[in-house]
């Protein structure tokens, strides 16, 4: 029991974080709690600090509109927190679609190795194209394009304010991930995830790998939802520098060698004694 908790410590913490944040929003709406009001698009913490989805603000700018200073401040706070410190942690610690995607991924793994190992039909770079297209569509339609079709908004808004027929879109993401492409939505298509990847390119909090402890069991690569970011495993000791890493910590939990841990990246020129 103790070891099960230890081996899933980040998973448990992430679920507490994801569910807790959504619960606070729900209580904000139903009971009038002041801790978190609104939803993940825009919110207010303790009735004071504004938080705004920076990608939504970017789309509003692309649609040739301005936002109030409040919304801009909120977007800057969020961008600074993830961009300077937490990395792409929004995706694995906050976003409720992560739970849908993880469930689909887990079922996919249960279904058998054939399905699990199948080569994805689309590139992981697709999400960056989707960012570009969403900005262009915002420009042409005059509205924030992704916000109108986003399954993420549909889910977190739906959980707080009633989902209507929006559950079909969430189910579509689930089935897409389960039957078509592994980590299809979060890892290939989602422009918000792509946006966070770009924005957190130089953030501080990173998983770091120690080559000399690694026994090359490759469990980390098996569990990682963005396995291309772990290309240094067994090759060299370094931090996971790609912005596509969601800091979910799964690789740390499954590593029996203690070769992965959370740490800060070093911004000064690297001198790696193991390579010399």
């Amino acid at each position: 029991m103790i070891s099960a908790i230890r081996n899933n410590r980040y998973l448990i913490l992430r679920r507490i974080s994801q569910v807790g944040i959504m619960l606070l929003f729900v209580c904000g709406n139903l009971l009038g709690w002041k801790v978190l009001a609104g939803n993940l698009s825009s919110s207010r913490v303790m009735g004071m600090v504004p938080l705004t989805d920076p990608f939504a603000v970017l789309q509003i700018f692309a649609s040739r509109h301005l936002v109030s200073a409040d919304a801009l401040t909120g977007a800057v706070i969020v961008a600074l927190f993830f961009g300077l410190f937490a990395g792409r942690a929004f995706c694995s610690w906050v976003c409720p679609v992560n739970m849908v995607a993880d469930l689909a991924g887990w079922l996919r793994k249960k279904a058998g190795p054939e399905l699990d190992r199948a080569e994805p039909a689309i590139s992981r770079k697709t999400r960056y194209w989707v960012i570009g297209v969403s900005l262009f569509v915002s420009l042409f339609t005059g509205i924030a394009a992704f916000e109108w079709i986003s399954p993420i908004s549909m889910l977190h808004r739906g959980l707080v304010f009633g989902i209507g027929t929006g559950w079909t879109l969430v189910l579509a993401v689930f089935l897409f991930d389960l039957l078509l492409i592994k980590q299809g939505f979060c890892g290939h298509l989602c422009p918000l995830g792509g946006f966070y990847s770009v924005m957190t390119r130089f953030s501080l909090l990173r998983v770091s790998h120690q080559k000399e402890k690694c026994s090359l069991c490759l469990k980390c690569l098996e569990i990682c939802p963005e396995r291309q970011v772990l290309q240094m495993v067994g090759r060299q000791s370094s931090a996971v520098l790609s912005g596509e890493c969601t800091n979910c910590g799964r690789c740390i939990e499954v590593c029996r060698d203690g070769a992965m841990k959370f740490g800060g990246r070093s911004y000064v020129a690297k001198h790696d004694p193991t390579i010399a």
């Binding site: 698009s41 207010r44 301005l66 109030s68 409040d70 919304a71 297209v133 109108w148 027929t165």
Partner: protein
Amino acid sequence: MGSETDGEKMPERRKFLLSMAKSLGAATVGGLAWTGYLDGKKAYPSVLRPPGAVTEEDFLARCTKCGICVEACPYQALILARPGDERPVGTPYFQMRENPCRMCRDIPCTAACPTGALDRMLVSDSDGQDGLKLNINKALIGLAVIDRETCIAYWGIQCDACYRACPLIDKALTVEPVRNERTGRHAILGPVIHSGHCTGCGMCERACVTKKAAVFVLPRTMAMGESSNRYIKGWESSDEERMNEAPEETRTVTPRSEKSPMDYLNKDGF
């Protein structure tokens, strides 16, 4: 570039160009479909927005669908559109027949909006200095419209439910005596809406006793016409002033109007 020496690199470059072309093609197709879908989705002209909402076009662009205004409403009158509600998804709206706007003096919904989709300026008076003082009476949520054919007051029945419910009674909604032509001897006390004062709060729509409300709120763009500035209301000094600003030449010039009326009036046949 493009010379023979680059021969061995060509397949790489071709592959890259081809994949770029494919991606661009897919992005264009996706973008067009996306644009088409959104153009259809945002065309709901009959949505009643919270007080202080900017024009519908700007509103749809600025609203991040966070629902903070909905949470701020002490009467739970605002609804955040769910998919299937036949309103732009995630945006706030009123359903006046069920739950109208109570015109709170502190306008909590407008005050709470983080993005400026609800603009305090639009529901404020300047207090003489730099500050603004909220004034809910400036709200233009919509405009109440009366269907005189189903309004039972216009049948001659004594009903003043909407009149009594109006928060701006005797300003936005008055009852005017009209002669009852059917009997020839009774008066009809018919409700009349005055667009200069009506905020579109919807209290009248909720109060209306008919099966489907005979008085109902429509967005102002739907409920009102727009008179051309070519016409002037006579014997009203404020409107007659506009004549001073009128340009010298206001005549429409067509091939026929180049001639004087006398020319064709004096033609053969007359």
